[in-house]
Symmetry: C2
Subunit: 369 residues, 2 copies
Amino acid sequence: MKTYSIAKSRRVRSTPYTSRIEKQGVTSYTVYNHMLLPAAFGSLEDSYHHLKEYVQIWDVAGERQVEISGVDAAKLVQLMTCRDLSKSKNGRCYYCPLIDDQAGLINDPVVLRISEDRWWISIADSDVILYAKGLAIGNKFNVKITEPNVDIMAIQGPKSFKLMEDIFGEKIKQLKFFGFDYFEFGGDKHLIAQSGWSKQGGYEIYVENTSSGLKLYDYLFEKGKQYNVKPGCPNLIERIESGLLSYGNDIDNGDNPYECGFDKYVNIDSDVEFLGKEKLKKIKSEGIKRKLMGVEFDMKEISLSGSLNLMDEKGHIIGELRSACFSPFFKKVIGIAMMKKPFWEVSQTVNIKINGNNLTGKVCDLPFI
Amino acid sequence: MKTYSIAKSRRVRSTPYTSRIEKQGVTSYTVYNHMLLPAAFGSLEDSYHHLKEYVQIWDVAGERQVEISGVDAAKLVQLMTCRDLSKSKNGRCYYCPLIDDQAGLINDPVVLRISEDRWWISIADSDVILYAKGLAIGNKFNVKITEPNVDIMAIQGPKSFKLMEDIFGEKIKQLKFFGFDYFEFGGDKHLIAQSGWSKQGGYEIYVENTSSGLKLYDYLFEKGKQYNVKPGCPNLIERIESGLLSYGNDIDNGDNPYECGFDKYVNIDSDVEFLGKEKLKKIKSEGIKRKLMGVEFDMKEISLSGSLNLMDEKGHIIGELRSACFSPFFKKVIGIAMMKKPFWEVSQTVNIKINGNNLTGKVCDLPFI
């Protein structure tokens, strides 16, 4: 596939790490929350194998924070998500589908409860800050809503635990999955969570002090040499194999949480007030008409730049392929598709046309691994 | 400057015209409202000269529409902008700064009043739909808010008038600047406005019927041969020379309308209710502390990927350069900068450091031409 260059400008913001990753061999970018997000350092497959075995440092500053603080902060955060946060705890991360009053997905962030009246919403690619501002103004909530200067770097891969222990000591081993705490580096405190957009394990460092963060970035590469550290970025192959959904790719505002398999994050029987609750009750009682599923094809490559229709043997559209890649693990093409009822059953045959060729695959469960 | 490829995916949406412009030689993209926006077809300067003399067809589908309809539609649109729309007319476009309750800019769209209870907000690069939804839900407004399937193609340049007359006949000559109406092509109606993001004149076709729009796209190139038609896109050089501001580049949520020179679109003495009105009154009475101005440097080239500080002779920061290009017309580098008080006076000397070199320029008025 022909490649096109990305035009840089102030509007498509660089990150504090951009100049570093450009020296380190980034080859491709995407744009995420109006910011450059690295998409490849050479071969996706090489990077995939490396991520599964060693440790990578990722510039994921595009994962912006929406900070909501003030006496009505908890009320506003709860209003936006169908997940019951009434028993949430300080120092914990919560994966929360955000929805509108029609139960359409707005975003699927990780929400960090810093304190009862201060939250960070670590967002996927949509301007959640505008939704929050609109709701706060309309409801006359007493909150302050900002995008703080937080530029996340992720430390991902099986060797990330050793590397981080070398730098931050024993204390970091006490951090549980989706827990966060403050850790010291060179006299500065950094919020670090055990989290990240891979299933290979690791951490996300929420860098507020940029100059300290850049020193830490360099130090991670220095100390990481013994673990074969490399620069990296969210990896298309790894994230599809692991069934990590991408807002805008696999799910969007036209989908509701039940269709996306988020059932365990939909608490319609709770007492908390959130938008779209009545709509979700109706959807649940009537049953969903589409469902996000895996698909697999005996093919050696695929490159999607948009949706592809999936058809039955008569050519009727029965689903929409939204993300796909060749999986070195399964040695076939795997993808994520929104399937229409009743065609979402495992082993359902699906047909696809790529470059004039008709290919046949089948539906399977998510996640793949 | 090294170039990097753009990673395509469903999240960074293609447009109905993408496959065509890729055959026609697009070389660079940016991302605008989660959609591919062409940024160059080879040389920016060649394209600039062509635009000023002939006619170009632009894929500006990234300029998405937020449709607001229903009995409270006018109230909601007015709530978001400091421009008094109480005397607005159907069939007219209005350039409207959208602001939040702190008078920070949210977007600077062109608002189309289709009817009293149906509006299109033709947006710059931020998710205005989420702001509108939040406000509508919070205020319990009776409105419907959607992003309709509208993919704009712009016909820009001095020969656009002749070309469009050839296709749509005499009637299109009656369309005034920022007026819109429906025009027929091959049996289908298209909403066409006399507008566009250049100062070379032209039209924007709001394509709702995609298949008809694609036929029209091809027909424009066929009929346009005699006018030396070419594919193009918003041109950095032309838009800076013309002083057309770009949200995210020249202006952002940290700026208020007065700082951006939008005084004539700020109607604080009107009776209409909009957000940030009290804040704007306060800003006006106290006076602004920063102001958007032009700057010029005797240099042959510049390439910005972010802001650059402007300094006085002692090295103190007195402003921030946000966009810049080499202007073939002025034979120097021109740019748009947010200048601090009192350094915004015309002829103020500004110093800048690029690649270790110290360069001197001066402040000037906007627009340049």
